[in-house]
Amino acid sequence: MSVAEIFDTMNYGPAPEDASYVRDWLKEHKSGFSHYIGGEWVKPSPTAYFDDTNPADGKLLAKIANGSRQDVDAAVEAASAAHAKWSALAGHTRARYLYALARLIQKNSRFISVLESLDNGKTLRETRDIDIPLAARHFYYHAGWAQLLDQELPDYQSLGVVGQIIPWNFPFLMLSWKIAPALAAGNVIVLKPAEFTSLTALYFAQLCEEAGLPAGVVNIITGAGKTGAAMVEHPGIAKIAFTGSTDVGRIIRASTAGSGKKLTLELGGKSPFIVFEDADLDSAVEGLVDAIWFNQGQVCCAGSRLLVEEGVADELIAKIKQRLSHFRIGDPLDKAMDMGAIIDPVQRANIDKLVEQGVAEGATKWQPDVPMPEKGCFYPPTLLTDVSPANIAVREEIFGPVLTVMSFRSLDDAVALANNSRYGLASSIWSENINRALEMASQIKAGIVWVNSANQFDAACGFGGYRESGFGREGGREGMFEYLKPKHDWAAKGDVVIAAPDPVGRSEMAGLGAIDRTPKNYIGGKQARPDGGNTATILNHKGEFAGRVGQGNRKDIRNAVEAAYLNKCWAVRTAYNRAQILYYIAENLSVRADEFTARLRDLTGASKAKAEAEVKASISRLFSYGAWADKYDGQVHTPPVQNVALAVKEPIGIIGAVCPDNAPLLNFVSLMAPIIGTGNRAVMIPSERYALIGTDFYQILETSDLPGGVVNIVTGSRDEMAKVLAEHDQLDALWYHGSAQGAAMVERLSIGNLKRTWVNHGKARDWVDRTTGEGRRFLREATQVKNIWLPYGD
């Protein structure tokens, strides 16, 4: 095209990035890429490769080793062998390796950016300006954690071999999110990139070699779902960290149940993008570009549900359409593109299918009239209006450049619509009124809130979701805990489940001196007769009749969870108020200390001194969580932009706690107090063997100003109750203490709503010892971190 013509039309021309040197590297590996195991390039066994193509043109890029079970075994073995030495290195030494990796990423950043763009189809602009710089930032940040670990987290140790399975949407960035914290904590790694996008992980293995990382510390295994399954099932792996779809996350949760593997899941989302009438609408439109048209919308935290205040809805939609009318879609290596290619024709077909289903359900589809590439796998930016909350396009994660639009009337309406989702990953709030924005931020159920911005990331700010978006955080201090375990935790000996002795002598009616007491369940602040109308006998330590408790069933659990759900006040009570109530409970327990001492002695056969000590420790424990209630604070992060990020510790919601038998009063208090002290509501299943302790305890709760529904107590068979709780989709987390089989069941059945589980795997805990029986460990299990990003500047 001549200068004169361009002068008249003022069009853009091509601006391609040179990829020749990256293609040369691919040519060097023409015969196929191997696995990286134990510091060596190892051919797959048996020999099997799969094709890796460039989504922008469908052409073959490379042949990739297809990992078998043997390959995974070899990698785990190599990693295991490296663990002792690596974890024993001084923090500073590990910090230097991480620092070397950060520098190597920076020094090769353009190469990695181009390779990533070729392999994934995302624009070079994004890999160059976002993915790769953020990856380097993660290594820098975690070099810092390696350096500080001994001093900052002295009571924690590494896990061992960590299996990491990463997705195709941000291959290199997700690799850095996984590898950097794991290495900093002293773990060794087997990482599997997604089969669509293995190349930058293999290039990273080269960088590990260049950095002189000890053999076996990082192993890269390539392959598809089967390879991943072999990792998930491998007994030598201590933890699985997975980022990907919610469906696969469920499979992994079920498959690892009972294995003792630690698990973090970063799953899907359907994140709301909320625009109030007092927002800077033009900027909100650009925010949407960052939110849903970033990486072709193939982003777990994509702002895919636009919620706009009714009065400005038409104006905003018009602005969005205007903005999209000059979108540029095409060659990802062209430096002037807004959107690149969709990862694979399969994904493109999925997007199209969901869009067309949405249209069939009444949505109006709008796509801009912009040039689309003739070849390759592309999908235009798409708006779906006239949708209701029931429309499939609103409910399902589309993972493509598709935005649904709904309007709302008021802040409450916006909250309701925003939270009307199984997911809870991210959210974006647009308003120039700080009161409104922060009110909304506090009410939204999501792990990340971006005020007047979208898709902001930093290594210092934890990333991760609520609800079915998974559990665990990546980045920040909270992310470090995912790759560590406490040095003192479940190790203590003792019986978790205590069998009742054979019944002897004394019948129920024999002691006809006292008036018959009939303990019930405690639900919604009231004593409630068990639904089934049956009771169970509790024997004392000699086998004599001690009392009766209700035989709880499914419906009692349902009622307890419902009562907890209906209590909306507890989470928003001040921490001071919650502290006061915990102190009050302690005060009332203290008044009845003798009675509880006698009950413990009778039930458990403990000596007077031991029973007194348990009551005393229980009172102290309530004090501890009264003390913690207003001290377990969040943090203020300062990411490297003009921004503050508030890391707020929020209650999870409704937590079920299934209690063990050892130290029945103390364990009940030790589990209940952190749950309610942090603002959660509890459904407590007291010790099955000593259930009378739980029913005695509600009399204390009744006199302690505790609002109804905050603590609900159901007595009954431990594992029957645990099963119903695990399967209850309104319950947000479940703590289980019982048999190893019971623990496995809880993990396996938790997949319905992917509730967080915390189980003992059949091991006991020393409840008396304050290091294992109370503290931050419990508080962390009772809370989740919400990061609220607040950019500023006028």
């Binding site: 002068f7 601006a15 927002a279 800077d280 911005s453």
Partner: protein
């Protein structure tokens, strides 16, 4: 009111509107989001090779070639006007096959005393003479003097008047006073086009810049211009983005197209290209013409000439190879 809010197919001159305080009340600007937009936009778009050459030639046609110095003389202004008539060496234009494009700068911009010299020097070229006015750059001389200055420059042959607004009205949010002032200036301009300089570096916040932009257009401005070039902070891309968005908003409300002139600090080709991208993206190609876009610049042209020669020869150029203005 309804009658005046309509969309025009043709490029009619903005007549101004009656005072609509509600048009500014709802304006909101989020600075950090604006800055992010600029940061990503500069990374989202680029022009290379002949596209870059063509875009730089376009930029030349948008330059208000300016001299605003106490030591300006007729000789100096005549030299500048000669440069405006022939901004690029003819052999370079020939190499680009643009020798017949009659390329000139957008205008020549001077103080009132130099207007007659410039008008005479530009006879037959079609290049307009712009005069800075109204007590430029502070705008604090008596109102009558300011109005008289406009009339005098128009009489002397200036067809564009670059006025400075009273920043105090913006800082105190006295929108009616600002509107009245600019409306008086517009009246004094008559047929001459009114370019209102906001002096954005002195307005305190981005929201104020947006509101002042809207008031000026409402009061009849043909162009809104960022700066005098004399403030500590002159044209910036974030401020420009806000003004362009207000131009779009005014167009959506009224159907009139208002021009934009960033001034001060645009001295290299790369910056000029970024501004062209910004205007193209926010307002479209229609705005990439001298009727709706100008650069207030004195040294930009020299840099563009060197870049063009580099494009043609592949060698880096030197300043002394290009005729000075």
């Amino acid at each position: 009111m309804g009658a005046e809010i309509h969309h025009l197919a043709s490029n009619q001159r903005n007549p101004g509107m009656v005072f609509h305080p509600e048009w500014v009340e709802g304006i909101r600007v989020n600075r950090s989001a604006v800055e992010r937009r600029i940061a990503t936009l500069n990374a989202r778009r680029t022009v290379k090779k002949q596209w870059q050459a063509a875009w730089l030639l376009k930029a030349i046609t948008l330059i208000d070639l300016t001299t605003l110095s106490g030591d300006d003389t007729p000789g100096r202004v005549q030299r500048l006007c000669a440069k405006a008539r022939q901004p690029v060496r003819s052999d370079l234009l020939a190499a680009l096959s643009m020798e017949n494009a009659s390329l000139t700068t957008g205008a020549v911009c001077v103080y009132h005393e130099m207007v007659p010299v410039a008008v005479k020097a530009l006879i037959g070229s079609g290049i307009p003479v712009a005069a800075v006015s109204t007590g430029f750059p502070a705008g604090l001389s008596p109102l009558e003097t300011r109005l008289a200055e406009i009339r005098a420059s128009v009489t002397a042959g200036a067809t564009e008047i670059d006025i400075v607004i009273s920043r105090r009205y913006v800082l105190t949010a006295n929108w009616k006073a600002l509107y009245d002032e600019v409306a008086l200036y517009r009246e004094a301009c008559g047929e001459a086009h009114l370019k209102t300089i906001l002096a954005t570096g002195q307005l305190g916040s981005m929201t104020k810049v947006a509101k002042a932009s809207m008031i000026c257009m409402m009061a009849g401005a043909d162009f809104i211009k960022t700066s005098t070039g004399m403030e500590t902070v002159n044209a910036t891309q974030p401020v420009s983005l806000i003004m362009l968005r207000m131009i779009r908003q005014y167009f959506d409300k009224t159907g009139y197209k208002i021009g934009f002139k960033p001034a001060g600090g645009i001295s290299v080709s790369r910056t000029a290209l970024q501004y062209l991208v910004l205007v193209k993206e926010e307002l479209g190609n229609e705005w990439l013409q001298p009727e709706l876009l100008r650069f207030g610049a004195s040294s930009l042209l020299g840099d563009i000439e060197r870049q063009l020669e580099h494009f043609i020869t592949g060698r880096y150029s030197a300043a002394n190879r290009h005729p000075m203005g």
